[in-house]
Every structure is written in C-alpha cells, then in structure tokens.
C-alpha cells in the first residue's frame, strides 16, 4: 500500500518537470502509471479481500500519543482505491488531449497526481490522524485544482469558497475523530467497532456524531454545505470529472461508511443522515433540472446523488449498504463520463448552454454514444448498471419500514427529476437540430475515456455479478457480516420494479415539461442565484471586512490596533495571574554590577528619547541604541550567540529603516499626540512593561527551568556533538521549533512577494 502511495507521489513529483512534453504524451504516460497501480492493487489485494482477509501496514509514528502510521486494506478501501486509480487513469488520458498545448500542463498533472495519491491514502488510512492528514490534503489540492485558471476571478473565488467550507468541515472532523479516539481508547478505526455498544450510550456520542457528520457533509456537499460544488464547476472539466464525481465528493460518503460500525445503527444517526440526505436529494434534483449550464446540471445532480448515498447509509440495513456501494460505482461511471462529454461539447461548440445546443449527434457520433450510455445509466434504465443500482436502492428503501412512505416517495421524485436531467445533459445537445455547430470532431483521446466509462456501465448492467467480488467484501467491511445481496441484471417485477416504471414515466413527463418551467421560472431563479450561496457570501464578507480593517494604512488606526492588542494581552494576563499567581523566587537576587547599571541606564535613556523624539530619524536611532544596549547586556552575561544575533538584527533593522526613511523626509516632525492620548499610552506601556518584567522574572527563576538547562549543557557534547549549547539546541535538540520558525519566514517572504506584485499590477495595467 505504501508502495502504491510512493508511486503516485513520485509521479506527481516528476510531472511538473515533464511539462514540456505534449499534453497527450504526458497524460498518456501518467495514465499508464495509474492503470498499473490499479492492476497492482487489484491483483495484490483483490484475492485477499475477497477471501475475507485484510492487509495491514503499520509503523510507529507518535507512540506517546498512541498514533501509528497505519494503513489497512479491506473491501471498502479496495473499492474506493480502485475507483480512484482507474477513473484517474481515464481522466489523465482525456486531460492529456484536453490540455494538449496548455502552458501549465506540467503543474496540472502534478497536482492531479497528488490528489490521486491523497485520495488513495485517505481510503487506506486506519489511524484517525493519518485519515485527517489525507483528508485535509485532498481539500488543499482541490483548492489548487479548482483555481487552476488562476488568472480569472471566478475560479479563484470558487477555490476559496470550496477550501473554506471543506476546511471548516475538516476542523470539525478532527475534533470529532479525536472525541471518538478518546471515547473508544484507540486511534485505530479498525479497532473502534469493538466498543460500539459502549460508545452509543456515552455522553459524548451525540457531539462526536455531529462533528464527524459535519466533516462528511461539507466534503460531500450536503445541504446546507452544498453551495461550493456548483461554484467549483469553474474548474477545468477533467478536474470536475475526477474530483466532483468519482473521488473527492465521495470521501464524505466513505467516511460515513467507515464509521457506520462505530457510530451507526442508532436513532440519531438515522434521523440525521436520512433527514439531511433527503433534503439534499430533493434540492439537488430540482436545481439540476432547472439549470442551463451543462456542468451546473451535472453538479446539482451530483449533489442529489450524494444525498441518496447518505440516505442509504442512514438506513443502515444490509440491503441499503450494498445498494449504496453499488450506487457509488454506478455514479462514478456515468457522472465521470458525462462531465468529460460536457467538456468535449464545450470545446467543440464554445458553449455549455443547453438552450443553445442541439443536433451534435451527427458531427460527434462517438461522443453521442458515450453520452447516451451514461445518460441511460443515470436515468436508471435497463440494461445499464444504473438500473441495477436504482433497483437495489428502491428495494432497500421499501424495506425500511420506519421511512414509509416518505423515503421511497422522495426517492421517486428525485429519480424522476434525475431522468429529466439525464435527458437534458445526454440527449438534448445531440438530437434535434438548430444548435451551435461543432467546430471539429473531437479526437480519440478525448472521446475514448467517456466512451469506455459508458461501455463499462453497459457491461456491468448486463452482468453485475462481475463486480460482486468487489462490492460484497466492501459491504462485509461496513456491516461486519455478509450482506447477502446478490447482483443481478434484473430483479423481477416486484414493488421496486413498479417504482422504477413510475419513475421513468414521471421522468419523461418532467423532461418534456422542464424547458417551459425553466423559462417561466428564469427570473425567480436569477434572483435566487444572487442571494444564493448565502453562507459563502457571508463568509467572504466577513473575511474581506476583517482584511480591510487590518490592512488599512492609517497611522491612527495602526496605533489603535496596537493599543487594542496590548490591552487584550494585559486583560488576559491579569486573568491568568489572578487565577494562579506565580511564585517569584526572590532569594537568589544579587545587587547589580556597575556595568549592568550603566547599560540599563543607556537602554532606558534610549527608550525615553524614542518615545519623546520629535523627529523620525532621532526616534529610529534611539531605538537602535536600546537594541545595542540589550546586546551588550547579553554579552556581559556570557550569552555570546544571543548578543551577536541581537547586534546583527539591530544593524539590519537600522539599514531597513534608513531605506524607508530615505523615501520620506527624515527630518519631518512626528505628530505630537494630545495630552490624554499620551497619558493613556504611557499607562498602557508601563503596564505591559511590568507584565513582561514579571513574566521574565517568573520564568527565569522557576525551578524546572534550571533542570532543563542543566540537562542541555550536560548532553550538548555527548549527544549533540557540539560545544556551543545554543547552536546545538537550535539545530539538534529543538530542531523542529527552528523548522517552524523558518517556515514562518518562508510564508512571510511569499507574502511580501505577493504584496509587491499586487502593488505593481495597477501600474502595469496603465
């Protein structure tokens, strides 16, 4: 498993450097790698998993916290891993042709491969921390992929919104996972179900459930966290086909399936999932039919499909879990194909507006075939795989007595609207006449992947048992026992079949009626669209408002901000000190030496001059004096390294200030503050100074500290191989802290570079 991850990350590392290859070659090569990974996973782990076994690879990571670098391959993991790599391979082929001469194709493929690796790592993770790391990695990589066309505003905004929503969900997930780990006493997901009955009665069960569900719902675009998915359609179509149909949005569903043995089979679980999923199903289906952009139709129908999956997992019966797993595969196949087709249509005609498309079937027969196969699967018609999935889903919902008749009714309505949406996306652009003409026939590399996906839907529809060896172990992994559900192309004329008939009938009606309804509702929809993703708009407003307040280059405001920060510091410290007064060891104080008095006087004089100076240059030089005095104090106490650093920093700060001052009038007077403000500032300054003095004194005289420094000095030579304790601490004993510091420096450097670029941009525009 780790070998597969290493391969994927390795390909991701190499891809940007191969950016000069033609897109087709690059995409094709990476597709070969992904296909090899698929085959390897299937061959190596398929038999093991089908026989009911698991494969585990675990390494010690943070033993003190009970965290292991653990991966576990069971049926569920294998299903998702194979889905990710196989669809990834086809997407790479398509993307290779899609981005054939794109100047940044190297970066694109590198990022895409990182995402594939992150997705595989996510489903293989067995430790909650490992899961979280890969979860967040998918969110971050998705930010880069959605915002790939970063020169335009819409992709940037969409990427930010997606990151904010999924990132916030990720934080909730972290807390939820940690709660779970605390309740069950283990950080390994595979060991948690053992204590399941104790968990369900635990006081913290509900918070844990809500937090984990929040993570899953944000990632899988459930209402009310769904708005980021339609916005993410600003991504290049291959990205949408990969992330927003087959992999990333399914991660939330995967998570719910993974924790089902631990958190599931309770009333809150069922209520939460069925409720949220049901609303999502209806909302997504309705928006899908009323949308005009091909990709928006697909996005909203994805939301609806994810809602269906959540409902099925909420029901939690053997039949529904099996149905959910089958639907995951079904959806990936047809949605991926349809997204790729949408990209081809967009490329060929320059538009994705369903009202303007039509009659492309003759110019693009293979694309039409692919779209037709995928569309039939989406509509749930035999003999395609979608029919099998829908039948299983209906059977599961009909078998859920508590939900009758609401749940099956919602399902019928959703699926009927889904049939209509399928006709909009897969039929309308290709039949009829009078649409925008296609510029050229799309090449084989563009069309073959969606066609293969559609064809797979047909083959599996005719013989679903082919997938049995994959679905059954996955269901067993979730349920803890075999599901007993067999995959057949036809389940007879029972209640489920009758529902299917009703669905198709209603769907056809909806398809005929939809254009009229769409046109009638157009103004209302436009107004809704503006109010639309209210949550993300509110969030954006808060962020930009805060940014405006912090960035405002105003002397007075800056002073006010500093004052507020210091006041907050004083208030918090007063609380802390009041709660637990520090014990100050006054016994070891010795009287100051004469040189220390001189240096202290020098520093105080410098500070006083800086505070009361009337010219900027004087103030700058006075601050420099304080710095030098501090350096000399360090020197007198024997801290040579610290003194050297202080001196150098002081010098460079003076150089920097000189640069800034040279662009102003150095003798310009500083505005003298009024009496009350000066008094307030003086009081605040004295307060903070006293606080710092107390804090320094308390820390310097605390007994524990002396033990630490004694240990460091004693071990500096034998363990650190260096006589300079300070340096040994920086680069050896506490190297991780130093690493954190230079990461901060790097971030600051990038921030300054970015600021400079935006400051320059307006000038370049003129």
């Amino acid at each position: 498993m780790m070998a597969t991850l290493a391969l994927l990350f390795g390909m991701a590392a190499v891809a940007p450097f191969a950016g000069r290859l033609r897109g087709r070659a690059l995409g094709g090569g990476l597709a070969v790698g992904l296909a090899a990974a698929t085959v390897w996973l299937a061959v190596r782990y398929g038999p093991v998993v089908a026989a009911g076994g698991v494969a585990v690879e675990a390494y010690s990571w943070v033993p003190s916290l009970g965290v292991t670098w653990a991966f576990r391959m069971d049926g569920l993991a294998l299903l998702f891993a194979l889905l990710s790599t196989s669809v990834g391979a086809l997407v790479c082929v398509h993307a290779g042709a899609y981005l054939d001469r794109h100047p940044e194709r190297g970066r694109f493929f590198g990022t895409l491969l990182v995402f594939a690796a992150a997705m595989v790592g996510l489903v293989l993770a067995d430790d909650v921390i490992v899961l979280f790391v890969f979860w967040e990695l998918t969110s971050i990589v998705s930010f880069f992929l959605v915002g790939f066309a970063h020169h335009e505003e819409a992709p940037r905004r969409a990427a930010r919104t997606a990151l904010l929503v999924t990132g916030a969900g990720g934080l909730a997930l972290l807390v939820g996972l940690l709660l779970l780990a605390t309740i069950t006493g283990t950080a390994r997901l595979s060991e948690m179900p053992a204590g399941a009955s104790a968990i369900r009665d635990h006081a913290l069960y509900l918070p844990a459930l809500l937090l984990v569900a929040a993570g899953a719902f944000t990632k899988s675009a459930q209402v009310p966290f769904h708005a980021w998915l339609p916005g993410a359609m600003a991504a290049p179509t291959p990205v949408s086909a990969y992330l927003h149909s087959a992999t990333m949005v399914k991660a939330g569903v995967y998570l719910l399936a993974r924790v089902e043995p631990t958190l599931g089979e309770t009333t809150p679980w069922a209520l939460l999932l069925i409720g949220v999923g049901g609303i999502t199903m209806l909302h997504g289906a309705a928006r899908a039919v009323l949308a005009r952009d091909l990709k928006q139709v697909l996005a909203h129908s994805t939301v609806a499909a994810l809602g269906t999956l959540v409902v099925l997992l909420g029901i939690g019966s053997d039949a529904s879990v099996a149905a959910a797993l089958v639907m995951i595969c079904v959806h990936a196949l047809y949605k991926g194909a349809l997204f790729l087709v949408a990209g081809i249509v967009d490329r060929a005609t320059g538009t994705r507006d369903v009202e303007r498309l039509g009659g492309l079937g003759r110019a693009m027969p293979w694309t039409f075939a692919a779209a037709a196969l995928a569309g039939l699967s989406m509509a749930g018609l035999p003999p395609l795989f979608g029919f099998v999935g829908k039948e299983l889903a209906y059977k599961a919902k009909l078998g859920f007595d508590l939900g009758e008749p609401v749940v099956p009714l919602v399902a019928v309505v959703t699926n009927a609207l889904g049939v209509a949406a399928a006709s909009v996306v897969a039929l309308r652009p290709f039949v009829g006449a009078g649409g925008v003409a296609a510029a050229a026939r799309p090449g084989a590399m563009l069309v073959a992947p969606p066609f293969l996906l559609g064809l797979t839907g047909l083959v599996l529809g005719a013989d679903p048992a082919l997938l049995g060896g994959l679905v059954e172990p996955a269901a067993t992994a979730v349920l803890g026992r075999p599901s007993g559900v067999t995959l057949e192309p036809f389940y007879g004329f029972g209640a489920a079949f009758q529902l299917s008939l009703v669905t198709v009938g209603a769907g056809v009606v909806a398809a005929i009626v939809a254009p009229t309804v769409r046109r009638r509702l157009a103004p209302t929809l436009a107004r809704l669209g503006r109010v639309g993703p209210a949550s993300s708009r509110a969030l954006a407003a808060v962020v930009s408002g805060a940014g405006r307040w912090v960035d405002a280059p105003s002397r007075r405001r800056f002073g006010r901000q500093v004052a507020i920060a210091l006041l907050a510091l004083l208030a918090l410290s007063a609380l802390v000190i009041g709660a637990e007064p520090p014990r100050l060891e006054l016994s070891g104080i010795r009287p100051p030496r004469p040189e220390e008095l001189v240096l202290a006087g020098l520093a105080i004089a410098g500070a006083a001059i800086a505070a009361t100076a009337r010219h900027r240059l004087t103030a700058v030089l006075a601050v420099g004096v304080v710095g030098v005095a501090a350096a000399l104090v360090f020197m007198s106490l024997g801290a040579v390294d610290v003194a050297l650093t202080q001196l150098l920093v002081e010098t460079l700060v003076v150089v920097a200030m000189a640069h800034v001052l040279s662009r102003m009038r150095p003798r310009s007077p500083v505005d003298a503050p009024g009496r009350p403000r000066a008094l307030g500032a003086a009081v605040l300054a004295c307060g903070v100074g006293a606080l710092m003095a107390i804090a320094t004194f308390a820390v310097a005289t605390s007994p524990g500290r002396r033990d630490v420094s004694r240990w460091l000095v004693a071990h500096s030579v034998p363990a650190g191989r260096g006589e300079n304790v300070v340096n040994v601490i920086l680069v050896d004993f506490r190297a991780l802290d130093t690493l954190g510091e230079i990461v901060v420096l790097t971030a600051a450097a990038l921030g300054v570079a970015a600021l400079l670029r935006t400051a320059r941009a307006p000038k370049e525009a003129t």
Binding site: D641, N727, V731, L739, A749
Partner: protein, 132 residues
Amino acid sequence: MSDVVVETASRALRPAMMLASLLLLLRGHDEPGGGFIAGLVAAAALALPIARRPRRGPSSTTCVAVGLAVALTSGLTAAVTADPWLAPRWVEVLGVPIGTPLWFDLGVFLVVVGFVVGALDALRDGEEASWR
C-alpha cells in the same frame, strides 16, 4: 561621506563579510556562530550599497524555498532508519564529524539570507522592486 568612499569600502568589505559569514556557519556547532548569525552577516554583505547591476542568479524566493527544502530533507536520513524525524546522523570524514544538523543549519542560513535580502531589496526599490 561621499558616495565614492562608501562604494569603495563596500567593494572591499563584501568578500570579507561573505567569508566571515561562511566561517560563522561552519564553526557554529562548537563556537559562537551558526545558521542565523551567518545568514544575517551574509545578508548584510549583500545589502552593502554597491552600484547595482541587475542581480543575476537565483531570486530571493528561490533562495528561501531551497533553504526550506534543505532543512526539511535533513530529517529524512533519520526516517530511513525508522528513527524520529530530524534525529541527527553523523559521519566521520577525514576525522571531521559531519552530520545532518549542519545540513539543517545550511537550510536555515539560506532561508535567512533569502528573506532578508529580498526584504531589503523590496524596501529599497519600493514600487520598482521585483523581489529578485
């Protein structure tokens, strides 16, 4: 002081300061010195006011990024032997001990140099700065 005097002095000082910075970096483990200090000295050397030709070579951002990469990789040798990351590894080359902490210090050095030089360039050139 006229520009000519400052310029001539800077030309003489720069190589000397770069050499001093290198010495500080290498001797840091046993005597006062180390990555931060050496980086600041080198940055000061590069900030000396010599008549600027367009600076060739890697940009400040590249310097920072390379430094960070160096610091990160210094921990990987330990990972190979299943030790905690950043655990030190030492070898003896001709009687001189060389180890991963020195590689880490080099990374710190590059980050500090890149950042300070970039910041000073930005401050000096203002709107015409290109963060080179």
